[in-house]
Amino acid sequence: MIKGYEVVVGLEVHAELNTKTKIYCGCKNSFGLEVNTQVCPICLGMPGTLPTLNEKVVEYAIKMGHALNCTINRICKQDRKNYFYPDLPKSYQISQADIPLCQNGYLDVIMEDGIKRIGVERIHIEEDAGKLLHSDKFDGSLVDFNRCGVPLIEIVSKPDMRGSDEAKAYLETIRSILKYIDISDCKMQEGSIRCDVNVSVHKPGEPFGTRCEMKNVNSFSAAVRGIDYEANRQIEILEAGGTVDQETRRWDDQKGISVSMRSKEDAQDYRYFPEPDLLTIVVPEEKVLMLKETLPELPNAKIMRYEEQFGLGRSDAAMIVDVVEKSAFFEKCIDAGCKSPKLLSNWILGEISKFMNEGTAIEDTKLTPEKMAELVNFISDGKISTAVGKTVFDIIVKEDRDIASIIDEKGLAQVSDASALEAIADEILAANEKSVADYKSGKTNALGYLVGQCMKASKGKANPGAMKEIILRKLGG
C-alpha cells in the first residue's frame, strides 16, 4: 500500500533457453560471438526458407510448466505475430497466441509474513529477435542477427502481486527455478532473462485501475524501481483528480523515470494467425508425465526442507538454495557424513561464498564434499577450533591433502588436556592482574579478554569451552 492505494502488478518474463541450437534452425545457440556469425538462411528469413521446431524447446517449456503447476496443452500450435522492425528478419515472430503450451498455473513465493500464491496465466514458446547497435558517430543503426531464433519462453503472471516486494520475490523465485531445472542460464547482463511490467493502482475495495505496461526493464532491481516509480506516478495523477491512460511506457533506469511509448489507440495490430509452415505440436502423454517425474526438487521445497530437516534459519537456507552450486555442495557434504548442517551452512555462506564471489567455482578448487564434511566434523567434535579450521580450510582448498595429517604435522589438534590448560591459565592470570581485579569488582567482560588471551597463548589450539571453565573456576576459587 502506498498512500492508501493498493498497487497491482503483473509480469511477463522472457527467458532464453539454453538449448544447443536455435528454436527453428540448426544454428548454434550461443552468446557473445562476433556479429552475424551465428546465422543461416533460415534465421535470417531468406526467401524460401522454412522453420523446423527444436524438440528440446518444447520439453524445456513443459518442464517450466510443471514447475509452475500449469496445465500442459500437449496438443497446441504456433502462430505468427506480424510487425515490421529491422531486428525481425521475417517481419513476423513465430510465437503462440490462443493456445499456449502451458497455462493456468501458480507459483508460491516465500515472503517474510508467509507464503504468497501468484497465479501464472500462461507459458508459451517463441523466437527472439536480433539486436540493433547504435553509435553517435554513425548516421544509421547496425543490425546484428545472431540472437534471431534464440529460443524463448514467455511466462505471463496474473495481476496477483501487490507491490514491488512481491514482484521481486516472484522474479527471484522464477529465476531460481529456471536454474534448478537447468533450462536457462539466467544471465541478466546478457539479456537472457528480461521482463515487461504491468502496473495499476486502486483504493482497497474499488475495482482495479487502468494499467500501464512498462517495457525495457532489464534487471530485477530495475523492475522494483520501475514499479515503485510507476505506482507513484499513477497515484499522483489520481490524487490530482486526473485519470490514468492505458498506454505502453518505456522504463529509463538511468534517469529513473518511465516515458510514454504509445497510447492504446496506437496499439499495434499484430494480425496473429496460425503459422502455416508448421503443423500441430503433439506431445505424447507419456512424455508429459516423464518430464514431470524427472523434475528436480524445486528451490522453495528445498528451503523448507533445509529449515525442517537441518534446522537452518530461513534466510541462511534461502541463501544456500539461491545458488545451485552451493546447495548441491551442501547436500553432497551431508551425504558424505557431515554431522553439523548448521556449521556447514556457516562455512558455505562464509569462506566458500567468499571465493565463489571472486569468480572461483568449487570444482576449480581441491575442495571435495568429503573433505569439507570431515573438516566440519573435526570442528563440531571439538577436535580443532574454528580458527584452526580456517587454517586447514585454506590448505585443503589449494592442495589435495589429508586433514588429519595436516593437523598432526602442524600440531594443530585442540588441547583439552586439563593440566596443559591449567598451566596456560595460571600463566595468563598471573600476567593480567588488572583484569583479574576488574572481574572480581564486577566487570564480567574481563572474562572474555582473559579467555581470549589464553586462546592466543595456545595458538588457537585450546578448547575454548574447557578453557573458559578453568578460568572461571580459578577466578571464583
Binding site: 531468406m46 526467401p47 524460401g48 526458407t49 522454412l50 494480425r271 494467425f273 502455416p276 508448421l278
Partner: protein, 485 residues
C-alpha cells in the same frame, strides 16, 4: 525430328544407350531457345555455359555407369521462384531483381544430384500472383499456340517453354492452379502433387499452406518421371509428409477398368465455356469406353471456394511477403527519410500492383476486428470443402473437371479486372484448398487451335490413379500437339 521434340523418357533411353550425349541435347535446347524465345519470352535467365558444363558432367556420370536417375542428362527448366544457389531467383519481381540465393531449394538439389541440366529460370507472374504471367516485372510470356494470347499463369514460362521445346520438362509451382491452368492453356501436361509430397524448402512462399511444387511435361510419362525425382520427405520442411513414395513412372498403367470417375455438376455449368465442358465430357466418354465407370457427384461448396481461397492465400501472402523490407536482401529504395519511409518506399516501388493489392487484402482480413468475419470463416469453409471431397472419394476413385473455364485469352484482356482474372482459377483452387493431387492434360482444341485442358483430381497421395487416367486418356486422345512456332 529434332532432339528438343523428344519426350524425356525417350531421351533417357537414347542417353543411356549413348545414341546421344547430354551436351548434344543441351545444345539443341539452347539452339531452340535462341530461335523462339525472342517471340515466346519464356525464360528470365539462361546461362548456356553453365548448362553445358552440367551436361558435360552428366555425360561423365552416365559414362561411369553411376547415373541412377532416368533424368540424368535431361535439361529441366525451373520456375524463377525456386531457389537456385548462385543463380538469380527473382520471382519476376523488381524486389528481387538482384537477389542471388546462397542455397538450393531441396528440389533443385535433388535434380542436380540426379544429373539433370538446369536449362534456365522461367518467367512467371510476380511472386506467383496471377493467372496470365502478365504481372511479371520483366516481360510478358506469350502462348506458343498464339503469340497474342497469354500462356496462363502463374507458371506461364514453364508451360510455354515445355510447349515450344525450350525445355524438355520443367518445374512450376501451384497455389491455386498455377501449374494446371497454364498447362491447359499451352497444351501440355502439368501435375500439382498432393500437399506434402514435394518439399517446399527453397520455394519462395506465396501461400504456405497451399503452395506445392510440381511438374510440366509434354506427356504423362515425363510428368511421372519428374514427379518421382522431386517427391519425398524433407526434414527441412515440417509440412512434407514422411512416407513411402513408390515410383509413379514404373507403376504407370493405362488399364483403368473399373475405376470410378466422379463428374461434379458444379464444374460444368455457369462460368464454364460450353465447348470446354463438351470436350472434357467427350474425353470422359472415351475413358468410359476403356472400362471406367462414370458417376455424377456434387461438391456443393465449390461456389465459395474462390472466396475462401483468396482470403487464405492473401492472408498468408501478406505475412510471407513482409520480409521484403529492404533490410537484408533485395531492393531498397533510394533517398529515404527514416525507417518507416524506407519500408514504405521500398515496398511500394519494389512490388507490382497485383502483389500490393493481395498484400493489402491479406492484411485487411487478418486485421483487428475482421479476423472472424473473413479468415476464420474461410478456414471453416476450407474444412467443409475438404470434407465434401473426402465424402465424394468414398464412392469414386477420381474426379474429372475442366482445368480452365476457357482457352487462352488475349494479352491485356483481363489484367485490369481482378475478378475476371481470378475466375480463371475457378476449377483449380478447390484442389489446393483440399490439398489433393490434380493433373491437367490436353483434351481438345478451339476452332482457332487453342488447347483445352481436362483436370483429373485424386485422393491424397494417389497420384498414381490420376496419372493412370491421364495416361489412358492420352493414348485414346493422341498425345501432344506441337504449336506452329
Amino acid at each position: 525430328m529434332n532432339l528438343y521434340e523428344y519426350p524425356a523418357y525417350e531421351l533417357s533411353e537414347m542417353l543411356k544407350s549413348k545414341k546421344i550425349s547430354s551436351v548434344e541435347l543441351t545444345k539443341d535446347i539452347i539452339k531452340r531457345t535462341e530461335e523462339v524465345d525472342g517471340r515466346v519470352s519464356a525464360y528470365l535467365k539462361t546461362d548456356p555455359e553453365m548448362s553445358l558444363e552440367a551436361a558435360k558432367n552428366a555425360d561423365q556420370l552416365i559414362a561411369s555407369g553411376k547415373a541412377e536417375s532416368k533424368l540424368a542428362g535431361i535439361p529441366v527448366g525451373v520456375k524463377d521462384n525456386i531457389s537456385t544457389k548462385g543463380i538469380a531467383t527473382t520471382c519476376a519481381s523488381k524486389m528481387l531483381e538482384n537477389y542471388v540465393p546462397v542455397f538450393n531449394a531441396t528440389v533443385v538439389d535433388k535434380l542436380t544430384e540426379a544429373g539433370c541440366v538446369i536449362s534456365g529460370k522461367l518467367n512467371m507472374d510476380e511472386f506467383a500472383m496471377g493467372s496470365s504471367t502478365e504481372t511479371s516485372y520483366f516481360k510478358k510470356t506469350k502462348n506458343p499456340f498464339d503469340l497474342s494470347c497469354v500462356p496462363g499463369g502463374s507458371s506461364g514460362g514453364s508451360a510455354a517453354a515445355v510447349s515450344c521445346g525450350e525445355a524438355v520438362i520443367a518445374l512450376g509451382s501451384d497455389t491455386g492452379g498455377s501449374i494446371r491452368q497454364p498447362a491447359s492453356l499451352c497444351g501440355v501436361v502439368g501435375l500439382k502433387p498432393t500437399y506434402g509430397r514435394v518439399s517446399r524448402y527453397g520455394l519462395v512462399a506465396f501461400a504456405s499452406s497451399l503452395d506445392q511444387i510440381g511438374s510440366f511435361g509434354r506427356c504423362v510419362k515425363d510428368v511421372a518421371l519428374l514427379t518421382d525425382e522431386i517427391s519425398g520427405h524433407d526434414p527441412m520442411d515440417a509440412t512434407s509428409v514422411n512416407m513411402n513414395y513408390p515410383s509413379l513412372y514404373d507403376n504407370l498403367s493405362s488399364d483403368i477398368t473399373g475405376l470410378r470417375i466422379g463428374i461434379p455438376s458444379e464444374y460444368f455449368g455457369e462460368g464454364i465455356k460450353p465447348e470446354v465442358a463438351d470436350s472434357v465430357m467427350n474425353a470422359v466418354k472415351a475413358l468410359e469406353n476403356k472400362g471406367a465407370k462414370v458417376i455424377p457427384i456434387s461438391l456443393p461448396s465449390t461456389k465459395y471456394a474462390l472466396s475462401a481461397y483468396y482470403i487464405i492465400a492473401c492472408a498468408e501472402a501478406s505475412s510471407n511477403l513482409a520480409r521484403f523490407d529492404g533490410v537484408k536482401y533485395g531492393y531498397r529504395a533510394k533517398d529515404c527519410d527514416g525507417l518507416t519511409d524506407m519500408y514504405e518506399k521500398t515496398r511500394s516501388e519494389g512490388f507490382g500492383r497485383e502483389v500490393k493489392r493481395r498484400i493489402m487484402l491479406g492484411t485487411f482480413v487478418l486485421s483487428s476486428g475482421y479476423f472472424d468475419a473473413y479468415y476464420k470463416k474461410a478456414k471453416l469453409l476450407q474444412k467443409r470443402i475438404q470434407q465434401e471431397f473426402a465424402d465424394a472419394f468414398k464412392t469414386v476413385d477420381s474426379i474429372i473437371t475442366p482445368t480452365s473455364p476457357s482457352e487462352a485469352f488475349k494479352i491485356g484482356d483481363k489484367i485490369s479486372d481482378p475478378l475476371a482474372m481470378y475466375a480463371a482459377d475457378i476449377c483449380t483452387v478447390t484442389v489446393n484448398i483440399a490439398g489433393l493431387p490434380g493433373l491437367s492434360v490436353p483434351c481438345g482444341y478451339s476452332e482457332a487451335g487453342l488447347p483445352y485442358g481436362m483436370q483429373i483430381i485424386g485422393r491424397k497421395f494417389d497420384e498414381q490413379t490420376v496419372l493412370n487416367l491421364g495416361y489412358a486418356h492420352e493414348l485414346a486422345f493422341g498425345g501432344f500437339r506441337r504449336p506452329k512456332i
